[in-house]
């Protein structure tokens, strides 16, 4: 199965629906271990994405993701803006000139994970969004297609697992042990993104 331009736009529009629905929940999670603006920042950025993408013409998936990256970087702010912006930009660069089949998508997510590590100076296990992106990459390596159900499952399990982690990167790191028993807000918004992808693929 290949991901085409229309589906990529649908994916982002659906991701926005989820972010808008869960805006307050994301901010609540962030208030517990950060500064409480994750929902507001993500909602501002993704609303702009949903307003923009359906009204533009794109040649390939790479172009949709590049536009998404630009909007995220200029509208989200905080740490989420550069991180999500970097992830979308790396996926765009990796898919330039190719159709997005399972193999390409795996490379795209791989590039995004590398980009996130570099930009955030973080690695797996530090209670950040990488702890969702990296397990999704592992699943993509196992299966040779873009399997929505497996991606959603992996992202969900990974998101839940951040609850037991002690934050050592980002704002939550100041809380150390006190960061335990809380989901990482960036992991939760990353889960919504992958859940939106799964739903888009199911719709066809």
């Amino acid at each position: 199965m290949e991901l085409d331009v229309r589906q990529t736009v649908d994916w982002m529009v659906k991701a926005n629906e989820k972010v808008q629905e869960q805006k307050d929940y994301l901010s609540q999670l962030d208030r517990a271990i950060g500064d409480g603006d994750h929902g507001i920042n993500m909602a501002r950025g993704f609303q702009e994405i949903a307003n923009t993408l359906p009204n533009e013409e794109f040649e390939e998936v790479s172009d949709v993701l590049k536009k998404t990256a630009t909007i995220v970087m200029s509208k989200v702010g905080g740490a989420s803006g550069p991180l999500y912006g970097t992830a979308f930009l790396k996926m765009s660069m990796e898919s330039k000139g190719s159709n997005v089949d399972g193999e390409t998508f795996e490379k795209m997510v791989g590039a995004a994970v590398e980009g996130l590590k570099q930009r955030g100076k973080a690695k797996e296990g530090e209670k950040t969004m990488i702890d969702v992106w990296s397990p999704v990459l592992d699943v993509l390596k196992e299966v040779s297609e873009i399997n929505g159900e497996k991606i959603r499952e992996a992202a969900h399990t990974a998101m839940e697992a951040t609850k037991d982690m002690v934050a050592t990167k980002g704002r939550a790191a100041y809380l150390k042990e006190r960061s335990k028993d809380h989901l990482d807000p960036g992991s939760v918004s990353s889960y919504y993104l992958f859940e939106a992808l799964a739903e888009t693929l199911e719709k066809g």
Binding site: D24, S27, R31, G34, D35, G36, D37, I40, N41, R44, M73, S74, K75, V76, G77, G78, A79, S80, G81, P82, L83, G85, R119, G120, T168, K169, G170, R171, A173, Y174, L175, R178
Partner: protein
């Protein structure tokens, strides 16, 4: 939520318009951006200083724009760092050909957005250097954390590096001064009550009536511990005891002291705290060159204060004393 606002989504824009109309003689807005720059920017052949961060810390950062201090302040949403494209606009608006120094507070979002802006500016051929301020002694500096936060000590970095730039220092010389200030400035804060975020109407964190948060950050992030409210003298003592040992002060040393209000604490209380701080310094034989009391780096209407101590040498003293026309730091 009871606030003097029109529309929660327009707070930052309307604030920026209000600042510029208050100080038209020292600053102007870069149209279509969240950047406020010196009236005469770009100043040819002068190194430019660009700082910024989330809104809600007023008078930081726009209040420090003016001759002798910042060339540009870039505002983000409330408590949210500005985006790279906005920082880039600020850099481009003030580059006078001698390069630009970015003053960044050590917060993950600020560091990432300013770093990306620096990369973009370099791609456009602008010479950019950056320093990261990490004066907060409340959170430890280790490879396991993002490091210490940058708080009110940033104001001294703006002032002294700004003075060096105004005196004609090269980009590297201005950066060296900024780094020297960073190496010699330490702060710690305490919160008595949280602030209310204008966008959500919710308090940023929970604090019981009889509790204080020691080592609080400028967004209300926790530091060392929550404890029962104690007297001003005891708070002053605890802040001083945490800040001073970091600076290795002795009788030959002069310092600048800043007792900064977090937004909702009256000056009266800041003076009460300062009384004890000065007594402790005097007991230790530390000479105070100058004391600054008031609001420099706030946290909306959070009650509380922070103590910042800057260890001076002859060079830093001269730079601190030199002229500044920034509205929130006139000298």
């Amino acid at each position: 939520m009871k606030k003097l606002i029109n529309d929660p989504n327009q707070v930052v824009t309307e604030m920026l318009e209000g600042i510029v109309s208050a100080y038209p003689e020292s600053m102007k807005r870069v149209e279509g951006t969240t950047c406020i720059v010196r009236k005469d920017a770009p100043v040819k052949d002068k190194v430019a200083l660009v700082s910024g961060g989330g809104s809600g810390h007023e008078p930081a950062h726009a209040g420090f724009v003016g001759q002798g201090m910042l060339d540009a302040a870039v505002a983000g949403e409330v408590f949210t760092s500005p985006t790279p494209d906005q920082v880039l606009e600020g850099i481009k608006a003030v580059d006078g050909g001698e390069g630009v120094l970015l003053v960044i507070k050590n917060y993950t979002g600020d560091v990432m957005n300013f770093e990306m802006a620096a990369e973009l500016a370099e791609a456009e051929g602008i010479n950019v250097e950056k320093v990261v301020v990490n004066d907060d002694v409340a959170v430890e500096d280790s490879s396991f954390t993002t490091g210490r936060r940058g708080v009110a000590g940033t104001v001294f970095v703006h002032k002294l590096a700004g003075a060096k730039a105004e005196a004609g220092g090269s980009l590297l010389e201005v950066k060296e001064v900024a780094e020297k200030v960073i190496a010699n400035v330490r702060s710690m804060g305490v919160a008595l009550s949280p602030c209310i975020m204008p966008t959500s109407g919710e308090p940023g964190f929970e604090l019981a009536e009889d509790e204080v948060e020691m080592g609080v950050g400028i967004h209300g992030e926790p530091g060392i511990e929550k404890k029962k409210l104690v007297t001003a003298n005891e708070i002053a003592k605890e802040l001083t005891e945490k800040v001073l040992p970091e600076l290795e002060l002795d009788r030959s040393v002069e310092v600048a002291v800043m007792v900064n209000g977090m937004g909702a604490t009256p000056e009266m209380e800041l003076y009460v705290v300062n009384r004890k701080i000065q007594a402790i310094l005097s007991e230790k034989g530390v000479q105070v060159h100058e004391t600054f009391i008031g609001e420099y780096m706030t946290s909306l209407e959070m009650a509380g204060c922070s103590l910042t101590v800057l260890k001076l040498d002859d060079e830093l003293k001269e730079l601190l004393d030199s002229r500044s026309k920034a509205p929130a730091f006139r000298k």
